[in-house]
Amino acid sequence: MRKMLTVALREYKAVVRTKSFLVSLLLMPIMMGGSLIFQMLFKDTTDTKDKRIAVIDRTPDAGLFAPLKAAADERNEKANTDKKKQAGYLLEKVSVPVDGPESLNQLRLELCDRVRQKDLFGILEIGPDVLVPPNSAAGSPERRAVRYQTNSPLNQNFPRWAEKVLNDAIETRRAAQAGMTSEQLKMVQEPVPLLAKGLTSRNRQTGAIDDGRDVNFLASFFAPFGLVILMFMVIMVGATPLMQGVVEEKMQRIAEVLLGSIQPFGLMMGKLIGSVGISFTLVGVYLSGAVWAAYHFGYAEYVSLEVLIWFLAYQVLAVLMFGSMFIAIGAAAADIKETQTMLMPVMLLACLPLFALVNVITEPEGPLATWLSFFPPATPMLMTVRMAVPPGIPLWQPIVGVALVLATTIMCVWAAGRIFRVGILMQGKGANFADMFRWVLRA
């Protein structure tokens, strides 16, 4: 046991004392929050170049171009005076010379060629029947729609704007047909807001009834999301050095010296304990930071002590489970390059919960989330998520989950111990999964 701790301490120091650990400690949150921060920093730095758009108004009186043009002019003026500059829309009215599908197609082709030459940004085509009352039999869906053609389909700024402006204009027309003013129409259409609230509870000290707080969707999404990302990170940072360490010991022939002093299983357990220590260091830094921030900024109710305790239990098991897989791969491979291919299936297992994450957070009690969270490699992350999402899950589920993960972990550690014992002294040639399987089964 003493020797195991000696190994554990060396492993811990070998990782934690390196510069790369410190860098990853600092860099991880930056990378995780990176895209968020980037968007916030650069949200005002949009493309402000004016966009020239051809508009074909095919309605009988071509009456929709005018309100569109007016809205665009207003917008352009605002864009010029505003500090926050945005792209101006320069609308170019185009009419179909002769009515008929052929001349229309010809026109579209010409305009599209201009788009290709970057003379135009897009083509907006208002269908001839958009003003026909929706309940009438006249008109085809194609003729009742607004068409937009562009070479930049992912830039949704203009089509969204145009859709809104056109629909407003069409609604006003339809209201007039129905004998309503646009004010009346607005009044009719005014939506009622829905306020999402937490549960009402009785204050234990004062006895008064406390109303539930407003639900912060972002916060209630990010608490479980953050926990999963943290657990994933901990597995990667805590367990990957194990594999590299074992390969180093093999390649530098250190393993033989070590095995002259300590049993293979003890050596492996020492390594695993060391990596659990590393994971606690990471979790300690991040969780205390996150909990402090939550209390400081008034999101304390999204942090539950119970969930945190379960998190720690699952984190230890996850590091042991994946750590033993990493060790087995390290022991079986002849060099670092060989580990890469064998790593794929293990990485897939580790990433599985991330693939299902959004589904699990939004429907923590759905069948997919429930079943997947009982699949041991995914259990640590998914069970924690499901507990972190209100209202939580029945207590038996995390308990059964822990039991399953514990059993799997013991099995993984046992199997890895056997692979480790054989593989650690092998030189020159790596083993494949079939070899590893044989080593496990061999007495």
Partner: protein
């Protein structure tokens, strides 16, 4: 009392028998030399004494204890391939290996060994910065830092310059003076002849020699002529009664056929020219090694 007792030990890897029915007793406080060609089973035997490998059959008792479990803290080991963590400092590596042997108060021992091997200035340098000779000496300290009663050294002198070789040889003799049992393997027959109380040779997994140098040489008898000739050295093997010739340049060793008369050979030599030196002697360890390990040509082609 024997430090190591090996009885009828066999170890195979797949279909290859690495060690076959080996029995060996290493007396306490002795220096025991393991010799044999590469791949003959030396390292496997050492690893089994270390309990890194377990024999398929037979028993191994180290310091009177036979167990398959628990690595032995009273045995130190210098493997053939040097293994040190490159990114650790010399002192930290040595302390780690001492602690792995359950030896807590290692600082004075480490300091004295570093000084004895001239490495004090490197104590706080990373292993990666050491030269080959230096890291070999550090590896040697790692093997003895826990003051083991038995030390196994797999090729401790290979690749060392003469100065470092003397330093390390003196260190091994110092271990013996502290009544440590030393087992080492070597390819250097002169070192083995000079240093070892007992010699053990393994060839293709089988024990072929075991005993003191004198005992071993006695079994071969005085069948070697050491001669120095002034002129013609060609065709010596054609002299009747000579089975093999080893030409060392300044002198030649002639092996006599069984029952051959040395004086008859001398007459033949004298008839060819001036004989400056003529000595009937026992074969050297080198010669014995080569006789065993190098099969006769006809056997080789058979």
């Amino acid at each position: 009392m024997n430090a190591v007792e090996i009885e009828h030990v066999t170890k195979s890897f797949g279909s290859v028998v690495a060690v076959n029915d080996l029995s060996l007793a290493v007396p306490k406080g002795s220096i025991y030399g393991f010799i044999g060609p590469n791949g003959s089973g030396k390292t496997t035997t050492l690893r089994m004494i270390m309990r890194i490998l377990h024999p398929d059959r037979g028993t191994i008792r180290v310091l009177g204890v036979e167990t398959l479990q628990a690595a032995n803290d009273r045995v130190g080991y210098l493997p053939e391939e040097r293994g040190l963590y490159k990114q650790m400092k010399v002192r930290d590596v040595l302390r780690f290996y001492a602690e792995l042997k359950g030896f807590a108060d290692s600082k004075p021992v480490i300091d004295s060994w570093l000084e004895r091997l001239g490495l004090t200035a490197w104590a706080d340098k990373k292993v990666a910065t050491l030269s080959k000779g230096m890291s070999q000496k550090v590896q040697f300290i790692a093997a003895v830092v826990s003051k083991p009663e038995v030390v196994l050294l797999d090729e401790p002198f290979s690749g060392l310059d003469p100065v470092n070789m003397d330093v390390l040889r003196e260190a091994v003799l110092a271990l013996k003076r502290d009544s440590t049992t030393v087992i080492f393997s070597t390819h250097d027959m002169l070192v083995a002849e000079k240093m070892c109380d007992f010699l053990f040779m393994i060839y293709k997994g089988n024990k072929v020699l075991d005993g003191t140098l004198e005992q071993i040489q006695d079994t071969y008898g005085s069948d070697t002529l050491r001669v120095r000739l002034d002129n013609e050295r060609n065709g010596l093997e054609n002299i009747p009664g000579v089975s093999r010739v080893a030409d060392f340049g300044r002198y030649q060793e002639l092996r006599l056929e069984h029952g051959a008369e040395s004086q008859a050979v001398l007459q033949q030599l004298m008839s060819r020219g001036v004989v400056r030196h003529f000595e009937l002697t026992r074969p050297s360890l080198h010669d014995i090694f080569v006789r065993i390990a190098r099969p006769e040509p006809e056997q080789e082609t058979a």
